[in-house]
């Protein structure tokens, strides 16, 4: 009786311990998430995803006529937005990614002359002021000057008193991640093109064709498993030492580029692909192979028509896992493709993937925490979706097998 009771207490103690540890893990995860969401969520917008990283500065002027009736806005504004009916422009005070005050253009009427200005430096170019840009400095034709530090309300008052613009300096939003998104897409594409066939056929060779119980096959398999545990920065060194010179010789690239990055990533994801495809080959019932042979199919036909087909879910899982790995990889890429943020992506030049983008903006003199958190949030969401898809596939797979 005593013994049983003691065992009971022990059980409960163990249970409480496990529960505490799990709760602790959950708490850390929640903290991380809430921190990132808190910092980054209000930056998440379509402009962030499609915008350029580098802000462009425009210098423009307007000396034409203004519409007598002004330009009416076709929408309502919130109370902190100021609207100049005379010019058809709405401004607002805002804080940029670096924490400085600036005057944000909220809206410009389609008929407003501001939507169709001339470039001061090049008469042939047009400059269109639109929402999302910021006002830096304006010299009006009555020689009043607008500075961004004076705020939106003062700027609108100056607009209402002026009949022309001698010189207006504006900048586009900037800090967009389009370039890094494109690079990430390129990396995923090239890496999968290289690693997928190699990985799938290696797995098929190891499991279907390789002689069993031969020491060198086991050495091969162990090496593949070992590769999974190698820190990725070491693969980055490999990329810098082997793939960058290689791609520099073969293409017009000089220094890190997307191809060398993809080759490095291919080495990183290869063991992942090989082991998960081999796992899926292991669960294909031997009955299928026997039935295929008994029907007079040869080894190649059996491999391509039955084995490959049955391992499709495994191949899909491997693909998703690899894509997740590619999106999240940063250390290796710092060497293999560089840390230069770009807006116009060229395959043979340096650029940054999303993860390296975070590194780059945090490594500068003024770390941009909010933007880093926003990009982290995007990465987290994508990886989460990929992981859930993998779970769904493996669940469906087990379900089908149980039914079959």
């Amino acid at each position: 009786m005593m013994k049983k009771r003691r065992k009971n207490i022990l059980d409960r103690g163990a249970y409480a311990g496990i529960a505490t540890i799990s709760l602790f893990g959950l708490l850390i995860l929640m903290l991380l998430f809430s921190y990132i969401i808190d910092k980054g969520a209000n930056l998440l917008s379509w402009d962030l995803i499609t915008g350029d990283y580098y802000a462009a500065t425009y210098d423009s002027y307007y000396e034409g006529e203004l519409n007598q009736d002004g330009y009416s806005a076709n929408r309502e504004f919130e109370s902190d937005v100021f609207y100049s009916e005379k010019w058809g422009i709405a401004l607002k005070d805002d804080i940029n990614f670096e924490g400085k005050d600036y005057v944000l253009v909220v809206y410009v009427s389609d008929e407003s002359p501001l939507a169709n200005l001339r470039d001061k430096n090049d008469e042939k170019n047009y400059v269109a002021i639109s929402g999302g840009q910021s006002m830096v400095k304006i010299i009006f034709s009555n020689n009043t000057v607008m500075y961004s530090k004076n705020g939106a309300k003062a700027a609108i008052e100056l607009f209402d008193n002026a009949d022309g613009i001698k010189d207006m300096i504006t900048t586009t939003a900037g800090s967009g991640i389009r370039g890094s998104l494109v690079t990430t897409g390129y990396l995923i594409f090239f890496t999968m093109i290289i690693a997928m066939p190699l990985g799938v056929f290696t797995a098929i060779y190891l499991h279907e064709f390789a002689p069993k119980d031969k020491w060198y096959i086991n050495v091969l398999r162990r090496s593949v498993e070992l590769l999974t545990g190698v820190p990725s920065i070491i693969f980055g060194l490999l990329g810098a030492a082997v793939f960058i010179p290689l791609t520099s010789t073969l293409t017009k690239a000089s220094g890190g580029n997307i191809i060398s990055g993809s080759l490095t990533l291919a080495v990183i994801v290869l063991p992942v692909i090989i082991s998960s495809v081999e796992e899926s080959l292991k669960v294909i019932p031997d009955d299928y192979r026997q039935a295929s042979f008994a029907l007079g199919a040869n080894k190649t036909q059996t491999t391509f028509k039955i084995i490959l087909r049955c391992s499709l879910p495994g191949i899909l899982t491997a693909t998703l896992l690899s894509v997740g790995r590619i999106i999240g990889e940063s250390a290796a890429l710092i060497y293999a493709i560089g840390t230069v943020i770009k807006d116009n992506i060229v395959v043979t030049e340096k650029s940054t993937s999303l993860a390296v983008f975070i590194w780059s903006i945090m490594a500068g003199e003024v770390p941009n925490f909010e933007l880093a958190c926003a990009v982290s949030l995007i990465i987290l969401i994508v990886v989460l979706i990929l992981n859930m898809t993998v779970k769904l596939i493996s669940y469906k797979l087990t379900f089908d097998r149980n039914r079959g």
């Binding site: 008994a294 029907l295 007079g296 199919a297 087909r309």
Partner: protein
């Protein structure tokens, strides 16, 4: 009497276990030959020797002769693929491929390079009709084969084998995973197939052997104990061991 297979002094050894000892028997064309005996007696092993499925097993050593239509199938240059198209096999557990019913039956012909859609349709239909499955599945040939019942799956496997137009069909306990009604259907089918094909069937079920076969071979511990017509084996067994086995004294 025409012999399809002549087996002579066949010895088969797995790594350290002698599975078949000096087997000598002939298999007659267009008849059903049943191989019976307790588990581990070598009857399935012998069956697998007939289309060289034992090739797939590592550490399996074979001596002696198996002649198929007067050619030794264990000579080095013998075309195994060709042999397996002539000698089909149905397995113990229904094992249709995880693809559509049509693709299952068309698999063998496709592997032989038949591509014409019409031709394949004809082959599939004929095979399914011969396997007494066509009426049950004609409206859902594109459904996954795994959605069929166990008995239907096994008949699909038979149809798949028939589609190759073989001369011999080897059956390795084809009904052991099925219920009595599905079993009865398969047995009926097997007897019906006798006119066109030579059938060798391994079975645990002695009543099944008595019901369907023309010849019966009784195996014990890798040895062929007795081989004769089914009537003789079940009516007047010459060997004491055979009598003990078929009367249920062991096994």
């Amino acid at each position: 009497m025409e012999q399809v297979f002549e087996i002579d002094e066949l010895n088969l050894r797995y790594k350290d276990k002698q599975a078949l000892i000096n087997i000598k028997m002939d298999i007659e064309a267009k008849k059903i030959t049943a191989l019976i005996g307790p588990s581990g007696c070598g009857k399935s092993t012998l069956l697998r020797c007939l289309n060289r499925m034992n090739d797939l097993i590592d550490n399996c050593f074979i001596e002696g002769y198996v002649r198929y239509e007067n050619n030794d199938i264990y000579t080095k240059n013998y075309d195994v693929i060709e042999l397996r198209t002539k000698v089909g096999m149905v397995f113990q557990k229904p094992n249709p491929f995880p693809m559509s019913i049509f693709d299952n039956v068309a698999y063998g012909p496709r592997c032989q390079g038949i591509k014409g859609k019409k031709e394949l349709q004809d082959i599939v239909k004929k095979a399914l009709v011969n396997a007494a499955l066509y009426d049950e599945v004609k409206d859902r040939l594109n459904d996954n084969a795994l959605s069929l019942s166990g008995g239907q799956q096994q008949r699909l496997c038979i149809a798949r084998t028939i589609a190759m137009e073989p001369e011999v069909i080897l059956m390795d306990e084809p009904t052991s995973a099925l219920d009595p009604i599905a079993t009865a259907k398969i047995e009926e089918l097997i007897v019906g197939l006798k006119d066109k094909y030579t059938i060798v069937i391994v079975t645990h079920n002695m009543q099944q052997a008595a019901r369907v076969s023309d010849y019966t071979a009784f195996f014990l511990l890798g040895r062929l104990v007795e081989f004769g017509t089914t009537d003789q084996i079940f009516g007047q067994p010459k060997q004491k061991e055979t009598e003990d086995y078929i009367t249920g004294r062991f096994g």
